[in-house]
Symmetry: C2
């Protein structure tokens, strides 16, 4: 049942009340909560795995590994907030005798931004949904979370929400720091983003969906940030010498990356850019053989499958586009047939539609006459989550100028690897220039994702007892701070 | 002469070309540039001081101190980028034998975002204009800057722009990392913000102006961030015991803060909140005496003076508003008469207009019947740059719940001080919730202002030679990094 306007209004008011106490919760207590959530998710056992499999058609191994990623990021953020240095504490002590004017005592740290609305993602029913990267980083920051369950896995979402509630009860946290609403209609999302008490939004999904939420948020009386992770074709550039030598290995690597999870990853390599020569021919033949072997597989839900087939037909009907490989015919309308097409660079450069995402197991090979054309294709692309270059050490060095262009287009640059497989760690950046996200200055994966839901506050001339522990002279939490222009734990 | 669309287009293309080399400039070279700019501004000597005085009506002492602040922040950012740790380097080295999947080598740092458009501020012809806080932090980050000169001090702006150009030539930097355009019409600003190569905007000025630029930027095909510092009435809460004892000292402190620089500061205390009792009466009488002594002074320009008088008339005509003190009648329409009014809290709470900024030497005393009403008034306010509480140590402790509310409203909390006088240092936060700024997550003053113009990029499995120096194993720049979950200079 879709949440009503009244229910949404109550949810936000309850979130705000919960916020006023939760925001002052210590890192240690928040860590207990996040670890309890991980335990409760694990305790759902096979019920959760079976529910995800039934709702999303994802295979068991994938569901189990996604669950591990989800509980893993709960524990990672628990460690982060327990350690505590993430608040970026800065201290400048007073200089009362400074001339011409005395210097006041000034200290600064990050505090939570307020209630955060999270939209579950279709393609990550666990790791980017109810207790996904947005929810966990918002809760870690000290923000209450309101999740709108993804309609395609509403039961999974409900199970995880119950686990979270059990963890909240068990650790004695305010009940309404986490709330779970249902909504199939656009109006539910709209009302959540428009509510005056909502302070930030997390979203993973389509460009149309993310951009619509961004537009609503920007047009509010008080605009709020939207972190939408939307659309990326993740170009992979194949340099010629390495392709000549390793065409087989490269084809295997790319075939696996393109078809993994029926291509339903935001980091799926949707564009392969290479010089049109015999090496590329051999690579394409090998890729053809590999793709042909792929069994038909059911996509996440009918809407995603329909959209894939529509975008595929549209792409294949463009000038110059040629099918290079396809897996066995699909058995049902819910299945995603793996497909590789190619197009001459000259056509690609004329047709913006070919640079737009086809969400599914598809990749387009752009054949370039020479290196100049290859550079033109690279420059032509808009913002991406990732950009990869595959080449020998000598070639990579020779073509290092490519990175000078790619770095303006992407949030993560990869050498001799594929974009799928997003490591969850402090140095991860899952983000990038528009339209891959709505804010290239933040990551959606890894510890720094917490920064999206925090803002700095300075404390001037505060009585010592009223300072947050993070800013007290004796550094009771033993965190890293920048104090009087020195880094340290003093 | 207003820049034409064609000139704006050429400027952005030239900025982009300059960016492609400037972005790779070392911190050491950028530091040389910023120090040379400080020297060249100093070398303008009396010519600059006289020009500012003539164009803005600001007194000599203020102009000289503002110049020192401007060259001071150039040197502060020079030190910051020379030291280099601001890039937030993170390193996670590979674990090729990890199971179930090997961990790749992943490293991350901040890189400059691209060409930045800066709008000079009327009230800070030096420190927040041509080489103000926006320009200096963007240049420090590695972004080219295009300044639209403020029409009210176009000659000052031109002089500073020439000084910057001399510093660029002297240090051998790309000429177009700094460009200077003129524009009185809104269309010039609009075209600058709309240009596809513009990647961020810095603005200090009115709510209407800042919000208009934000709206343009959000509605672009590729939305970009706007850092607009706009509107704040900086509430000052006077607690009763301290007011009873120190009404005289407090009145002197506030009179000076309200009238300083003809009240033309974004941190001007425009709202005084106190319990209506004999202490407040004595305070108001003393404030009356102080304000009466203030000589009429000329405002920055006719537009600001006209707006001040209009907003003053509008405020004074509201239900319940009473004049408590005013300086000698203004001698000319360009002069800003200092004025203090009061209003019962019950009226204030009903009338949103009274919570809006009156830019000039004005403050409104909100008289509260009791502490409950005082809390209601504090909660009623929208986002602010600052909020101050003046009280005895015992009182502050007793009323510490006030800060739980104020922290949601303001970017800087002050105890026993006034909001004017913004210290430029690492722990400063000059920012706050909307409408004080368009993005509460960033500061416009202090070293962290650089973060506005940078975005993270991750490097996965990069050949060591191609990594930026900041991320190389041997840490050649000796910066602070977070490496394999340890902070250090290793």
């Amino acid at each position: 049942m879709d949440a009503t306007k009244e229910e949404i209004n109550i949810a936000l008011h309850e979130a705000q009340v919960a916020f006023l106490s939760y925001k002052n919760t210590s890192g240690k207590k928040k860590a207990e909560l996040l670890r309890a959530i991980a335990q409760e998710i694990d305790a759902l056992g096979n019920t959760l795995v079976e529910t995800v499999m039934r709702e999303t058609n994802l295979p068991e191994a994938r569901v189990i590994s996604e669950r591990a990623r989800t509980t893993g990021h709960c524990r990672m953020f628990a460690d982060l907030v327990e350690e505590g240095s993430w608040v970026e504490a800065r201290i400048d002590t007073a200089q009362p005798n400074r001339t011409p004017a005395p210097k006041p005592d000034l200290r600064k740290m990050l505090i939570p931004i307020g209630p955060v609305v999270v939209f579950g993602a279709a393609n990550f029913p666990l790791a980017y949904s109810t207790m996904g990267g947005d929810s966990v980083s918002a809760l870690a920051a000290g923000c209450p979370v309101i999740v709108k369950a993804h309609p395609a896995h509403a039961e999974t979402s409900g199970l995880v929400a119950q686990a979270i509630q059990r963890a909240i009860t068990r650790t004695g946290m305010p009940k309404n720091i986490f709330q779970h609403l249902y909504g199939k209609s656009f109006e539910v999302g709209q009302a959540l983003v428009n509510h005056p008490l909502t302070k930030a939004v997390g979203f993973t999904g389509s460009l149309a969906g993310g951009k619509a939420l961004f537009d609503i948020a920007s047009r509010r009386a008080e605009p709020i940030p939207v972190f939408a992770e939307m659309s990326s074709i993740n170009p992979v550039i194949l340099l010629p010498d390495s392709l000549e030598k390793d065409f087989e290995k490269t084809a295997l690597l790319l075939a696996a990356s393109i078809t993994q999870g029926v291509g339903q990853f935001c980091t799926n390599p949707g564009l392969i850019i290479a010089q049109d020569n015999s090496a590329l021919e051999k690579f394409t033949t090998k890729l053809h053989d590999e793709i042909n072997k792929v069994l038909p597989a059911t996509m996440l839900h009918q809407g995603i499958a329909d959209n894939y087939h529509k975008r595929l037909d549209q792409t294949l009907s463009q000038q110059g586009v040629k099918v290079e490989a396809q897996s066995d015919s699909k058995a049902s309308s819910m299945q995603g047939q793996s497909l590789i097409a190619s197009v001459p660079a000259s056509e690609f450069l004329k047709n913006h539609l070919l640079a737009e995402e086809v969400f599914g197991p598809f990749s387009l090979i752009v054949k370039c006459k020479n290196l100049q054309e290859l550079h033109a294709v690279v420059s032509h692309n808009s913002g991406q989550l990732t950009a990869s270059v595959i080449g020998s050490e000598v070639e990579i060095e020779k073509h290092k100028n490519l990175f000078n262009v790619l770095i303006e287009k992407a949030g993560r640059l990869i050498v001799n690897g594929v974009p799928t497989g997003v490591e969850v760690c402090p140095s991860q950046n899952h983000g990038g220039p528009f339209p891959s996200t709505t804010d290239s200055r933040f990551t959606a994966v890894g510890t720094d994702a917490i920064k999206r839901f925090a803002r700095p506050v300075a404390f001037q001339n505060f009585p010592h007892a009223l300072l947050p522990d993070e800013l007290k002279n004796e550094n009771p939490l033993k965190i890293w701070r920048y104090s009087n222009s020195e880094w340290g734990k003093n």
